[in-house]
Amino acid sequence: MVERMIDAGAALAGLDPASLTAYGDRRGDDAATTAWRHRALAALTAVPFPDRVRHLWRYTDPERLLPRRLLQPSGPAPLAAALPAGPAVRLEPGREPRLNDAARSCGLVIAPLFADPADRELIGRAVPVDHGYFEAINAAAFGAGLTIRAPRGFGLAAPLRVVVAADAGADVLPRLLVIAEDGAALTVVEEHTGGGGGGCVIGVTEILIGANAEVRHVLVQRWADGQVGHLTQRARLERDARFFGATAGFGGAISKVDLGGLLAGEGARSELVGVALPEGRQHLDHHTLHQHLAARTWSHIDFKVAVAGRARSAYTGAIRIERDAPGSEAYQENRNLLLSDRARADTIPELEIHTDDVSCSHGATAAPIDPDQLFYLRSRGLSAPAARQLVVRGFVEPTLRQLPADLRAELENLVDARLARLREVG
């Protein structure tokens, strides 16, 4: 344990108070931001390095996710990639967030993190600085930071797209704070792209949903081959708030994604759906957490994984129902389809229930494709790869169907593209 901490310390060389101050100065951070970074650094020294024996890290080696070049000045900024149509923001290493006109005029307040002094009160509410080792690194050394705020009662149906570009040659630490004030509604599609071998992303997204407000958040991870990363997303829901989170995991070499909803206000409802399709030698590790902190809260999770080649998936799904959450309901389902003999999927449900008068259930399966299904489809002329593709598509279909219609097509296209590729590589 001690040895590991020293290893990690060495790996993090450069993350000391002096260099952190210098980093902030270079970026032009204000005093409040710098102070927050230093508090995070202090927390980081107190947060133990993840222990492989502890459940959440049983399947992924944290050392593989350690950043190597923290606080280094970025290289020349990459050529500005085009922003998609509709409201969009692009976060790139070494650049200010870029907004398109639609984002500027959509009515959401979109600004660098800490530009509004109010951010200081809100940041860390859903993902505290000491949430975990990687979250503390992000808090101390985050690069591009962005606040997205839907003012009280304001509603925007069109999704705001946030494109976070990884970098094959550098560490990227994005940090998003999404705020829906009371009665507001917004949709954020957070898309992680780019990067490649040698790059590491450590991202944190906090979503604060006020009373009676609604947030839909789609997290798409489509890094280039070889990229590694750790993404944490937490939504905190106040009274009667609603959260719909969708995640799709496709890319990178090693990816750990931790998603969750904290149901802090009475009557809050959180639904998460996920699809992950690792292939080759990819390693995708997902956690979800639904923590019920208030009475009559509701949560639902449907997470589907199809593993091809020699890839590996781990899913840990935690439900915690606290003492003050009577009358709550929680459901969690994780199904895994193994597409080859060497594919592997682990699924670990963790249920912690501290009050009676709740309804909580879960289901978990891992199985290869049913050979009878393949024979049936092949007897109708479908080749073996086409039959497999159809079965996998069917496997994820009921999950994709839970996506609101306006968000579904894009994920369906990504899934279909991945399945077409699986069909070629076999």
Binding site: D370, P371, D372, Q373, F375, Y376, L377, R378, S379, R380, G381, L382, S383, A384, A386, A387, L390, V391, R393, G394, F395, V396, E397, P398
Partner: protein, 258 residues
Amino acid sequence: MNLPTNERLLSCRDLRVFVDDKEIVKGVDLEIRTGEKHALMGPNGSGKSTLAAALMGHPAYRVEGEILLRGEPIAGLSPDERARRGLFLGFQYPVAVPGVTVASFLRAALAARLGREVPVREFRQKMQAAFDVLEVPKNFTGRYLNDGFSGGEKKRLEVMQMLLLEPAVALLDETDSGLDIDALKIVSAGVNLAARAEMGLLLVTHYQRILDYVQPDIVHVFMGGRIVRTAGPELARELETRGYDWLADPAPTATARG
């Protein structure tokens, strides 16, 4: 389909089917020609489904002997290649594929059979024509394939697929079982339509019920992995009154009853 009349569509010679080392089908000779309706009748467990699945190329079976589809050997081909060449198996227990809609499945199957993309219009027309024969309700297309279907719905969808895909030869395994009388009539109409379209048909059954609606040209009795008798439609009526037992013995007259 333009088949020369009286072409040999499906032939097999001394066909043997093994599961592991157990021989289940023990030397079958069969010849089905254009537009012929064959009934293969036999008690439960005699190996009828094994024969049908092996003809379709089920990977669980080891097969010895010859299988010719329109004169070409197919015993070494995959199930999908056999299907594309015009062999069809209506399953005794159609398999559910959750999440895959009937429409998307049928379109993929038709494209595979025709060896080309099928434009939506053409697909819809062909699908509707086949649905009409089987009196399948429109909302079928959006349902997941065989998922939560009643027995009768599954069997109707099997026969519907046969009409859509226009195979040269269809093997229908117990397509009559689990049907009420109305469904049986509808399914039989589909089968008769296929025969008029010159398909070769092998109706596998252990009841004679369907034969009230579909008149077979040739009836085979299948017992213990072998065809023990082949005759005209009168054999089916004889089986109805006498059962199978009198055929089980190598010297049938010795044990013949009533």
